[in-house]
Symmetry: C2
Subunit: 419 residues, 2 copies
C-alpha cells in the first residue's frame, strides 16, 4: 500500500467511525475513558520502555535539555495522563445538549442541538501526554481523532496509542475511533491536509513553522493554537502595588507557557514611581529586561534597547520587553499591532479606562486587574482543554468539550409546506 492509500484509509475509517461515536451515550463513553485511564497505568512498563528509546535517540541527535525534558516520561507523568482521562470522564457531556429552541409562525418547533464535529486531526510536537489528552477529549465529545505526533516522540506516542487502541477494540468500537499516523515521512501531513472529504477539522499544536505549513496547505478548516504575546498595561490609575504583583506573576510564575506576559506597558505618568521597584524585582528573579528609551533611563544600567522584533516575540523564557506609553490609546494600539490576540490585561482603578481597554483590545481574553496566566480551560471552569485558540472562527480562547462540538437544527412539523 502506498503512503497515500494508507492515509486515505485512515481518514475513511475515521469518518465511518464518527457516525457510530455520535450515537454513544455519556455513560458508555465514561466507562471506556475510565478503562483507558486504567490501561495507561497497567502498561506503564511498556510505555516507559518505548520512551527510553526516544530519549536515547534524542540524546544521540543532541536535542536540547529543554526538549528532552518535554519528551521524557516517568511514573508520575503517566499517572498524570491517566488522571487527565479520569477527569475528562467526569466532565459534563456537551453532545446532545440544547443550545436553544423556539417556535416560528409556520408552527415549526426548532431545536438547536450540540452534536460532534466528526473527524478531528491533530498535528503536534514533542510532549507525549498530548496523545492521550487529545484522545480523551475527542472521544468524550463523540469525535474520531487522527493523531500525527512529532517524530522525536514516535515510540512513546505509539506505545500510548496502542494501549488505548486495545481498550477501543475490547469494547467493540470501530477501528477508526482513534487513529495514529505512525510514519516519520512528512509527506503524510500533506496528504492528510487535502482530505477535506473525510476530515472536518485540523488543529496544529506546535511551533510557528508547523502552523504556517498547515495553514498554507490545508483544505480542511484549521483552528490555530498560535503563540501568546500577552501584555499587561499599567494604567496611570493603577494600584501600583497590585500592578507589581500581577506583572511579576504574569512573567515569572511560569514563563514557558502561552499565557505568560511577554510585554509590559506602563503609562508615562506612573513610570517613574512604578518602574524602579518593579524592574529590581524582575532583576532579582533573573528576568532580562529589554526596554524603550524611557525604561532604559529609569532603569539605569544593564537594560538592553528593545526592538520592533522584540515586541513581536514570544520569548517563553525570563525575558521581558517594557515600553512606557503616553496614553491608554497608545497602549491599545500597541497591543493590537504587536500582540497575538491571546490574553491582555489592564491594571487600573478607573472604570472608564477599563471599559475602553476591554472593548478595544482585540484579543480572545481581556482582563482588568488580574494576571494573564488565568487563560486556561481549567481556570475558566471548563475542565481539561485541548488548547487555546488564537483564531476567531468557531472557537476563541480556551477550547474544551463544548468547542469540540458543532450543532444541528432539529425541526418538528405537522405537515408544514412553504407557501
Amino acid at each position: 500500500m502506498t503512503l497515500r492509500q494508507q492515509v486515505v484509509n485512515i481518514a475513511k475509517n475515521a469518518a465511518s467511525a464518527a457516525r457510530i461515536l455520535a450515537g454513544l451515550t455519556t455513560c458508555e463513553k465514561n466507562k471506556i475513558l475510565e478503562e483507558m485511564a486504567e490501561s495507561l497505568n497497567k502498561n506503564k512498563g511498556a510505555i516507559l520502555k518505548a520512551n527510553k528509546k526516544d530519549i536515547a535517540l534524542a540524546m544521540k541527535v543532541k536535542l536540547s535539555g529543554a526538549l528532552i525534558d518535554r519528551l521524557a516520561l516517568n511514573e508520575k507523568r503517566i499517572l498524570d495522563m491517566s488522571n487527565c482521562l479520569l477527569s475528562v470522564a467526569k466532565l459534563n457531556d456537551a453532545v446532545g445538549s440544547e443550545i436553544k429552541s423556539w417556535d416560528v409562525p409556520s408552527g415549526l418547533k426548532i431545536h438547536k442541538v450540540r452534536v460532534p464535529i466528526g473527524v478531528i486531526a491533530i498535528i503536534y510536537e514533542s510532549r507525549p501526554n498530548v496523545t492521550s489528552d487529545c484522545i480523551g477529549l475527542c472521544f468524550k465529545s463523540g469525535n474520531s481523532v487522527i493523531l500525527r505526533g512529532g517524530s522525536e516522540a514516535l515510540n512513546s506516542n505509539l506505545a500510548i496509542f496502542k494501549t488505548i487502541e486495545r481498550v477501543i477494540k475490547k469494547n467493540g468500537l470501530p477501528k477508526g475511533t482513534v487513529n495514529f499516523i505512525a510514519t516519520k515521512d512528512r509527506q503524510a501531513i500533506d496528504i492528510l491536509l487535502k482530505l477535506n472529504g473525510y476530515i472536518d477539522l485540523v488543529m496544529p499544536r506546535g511551533g510557528e513553522a508547523l502552523i504556517k505549513k498547515v495553514v498554507s496547505s490545508s483544505r480542511i478548516p484549521v483552528i490555530k493554537h498560535y503563540k501568546g504575546i500577552c501584555h499587561v498595561y499599567v494604567d496611570d490609575h493603577a494600584d501600583l502595588n497590585m500592578a507589581e504583583k500581577i506583572c511579576f506573576n504574569a512573567k515569572v510564575q511560569r514563563p514557558g507557557v502561552c499565557n505568560a506576559m511577554e510585554s509590559m506597558l506602563v503609562h508615562c505618568d506612573v513610570a517613574a514611581r512604578f518602574l524602579p521597584g518593579m524592574l529590581k524585582k524582575f532583576k532579582d528573579a533573573g528576568v532580562e529586561i529589554r526596554g524603550c528609551p524611557v525604561t532604559q533611563r529609569i532603569g539605569k544600567a544593564g537594560i538592553k534597547r528593545v526592538t520592533g522584533k522584540d515586541y513581536r516575540t514570544e520569548y517563553l523564557s525570563l525575558i521581558l520587553s517594557v515600553k512606557v506609553v503616553d496614553s491608554l490609546k497608545q497602549a491599545i494600539e500597541h497591543i493590537n499591532a504587536y500582540g497575538s490576540h491571546h490574553s491582555d490585561s489592564i491594571i487600573t482603578d478607573d472604570e472608564l479606562n477599563a471599559k475602553e481597554f476591554l472593548k478595544k483590545v482585540d484579543s480572545a481574553c481581556v482582563y482588568v486587574n488580574a494576571s494573564t496566566r488565568f487563560t486556561d480551560g481549567n481556570q475558566f471552569g471548563m475542565g481539561a482543554e485541548i488548547g487555546i485558540s488564537t483564531d476567531k472562527l468557531h472557537a476563541r480562547g480556551p477550547m474544551a468539550l463544548e468547542e469540540l462540538t458543532t450543532y444541528k437544527y432539529v425541526i418538528y412539523g405537522n405537515g408544514q409546506v412553504r407557501a
Copy 2:
C-alpha cells in the same frame, strides 16, 4: 500601483476600519443603514443604467436566459434591495450581547460577549442584490466587508457599491468600511485569499468551481455555502396524504433553490400505495422522474433509470431522483452518503423512527413532517440571511447576524495572580 498592491491596500484599509466599526452603537448603525436604503432608491436611475450595460454585454456573449434574468434589475428589484437594508436595520444587534457569564473559584468574573469577526470577504456570482445585502448584514454586525462580484455584473455591482460608499463617506466612517474589488482580473482573488493577516473570513457564494477554487487556495478560514442535495424520506409509518403534499412542495414550489428536494426516498412497504399517485402529480407538474428499478416498475413507462451521478446532483430544476429503500437504516445511509448535509426530512407518525432519523442524519437541518423548503434565515426567525452554511465549523445552516460575530472573554479581577 500593481494589482497586488491595490488588493493589499484594500485589505489593510478594511482591517483598520474594522476596529472603528466594532465601536459603533446600534443606533448609529441603524441610522446609516436607513440612509443606505434611501440612497439606493434615489440613485435607481444610475443603477439601472449601469445594469443595462451588463445586460447588453451578457446578450452579446450569449449568456442563458436564466442567467440574464438573475442579472437583470428593475425598479421592483431595487426597491427589494432597499427594503432588505431597512429590515436589517430593524433586526436586533448581536454585537455586545452576552452569551453567558459566570464566576470561578479564583474570584474572577468571566463574561463571554459577542464581538464582530473583523474583516469578511465575499466572493459571489451573478445577482447584483448580493452586493447591498452583504454590505447591510456585515455593517450591522460591525464587520468591514470586501466584495468581489461576478464579472458579468461588474457595472451593476459598482453602481450599487458607489451609492452606498457615498453614504459611508458622508457619515465620516473610514474608507475601508465597505470595499469592492473592481477588476475582472481573476488574479485578484488569488492575491486576496492569501491575506490572512488582514482578512478573518471568506465566504464563496456561487457554483462548485468557485467554491473548490477558494477552498484549495485560501489561507483565510472559509465558510462554504455549497450545494443543497436535499432528501425527503417517506417512512412506512408515514401519513401518505401529508407525504404527498410535503414532497410536492419540496420539489415544485421553487425548484431553483438550495433547499428544494432533489431526491425522494420511499420505504418499500408503502411504495406501491404511495408512488402511483405521487408520480402522477409530479408528471402533471412537469417534473422529470429518474427512478430506481422498483420506481420504474411501479411508475410504468416514461421513467428514466436513475444513476449514482443523479443521486449526487443538485438539479435546481424540475427533475427528481426517486429511490425505494428497504429500511429506515438504508434511507439514512443513502442520505449521509449522497447528500450535501444541508436539509433532509422524514415523513412518519412513528416517534422512534423520527428520533432515529433526526439523530443519525448528519445534516445542518433535519426535519420531521415538514418540507425542506423551510431552511431559510427568515423562516427560522433570524431575519435576513447571508447564506446557508454547509460547513460544520463556526456556523451551520442559515447564517444571519449572530453567525457574523465571534466572541471574546471579558474578565474582571481584583488583583488575582496564579498560584
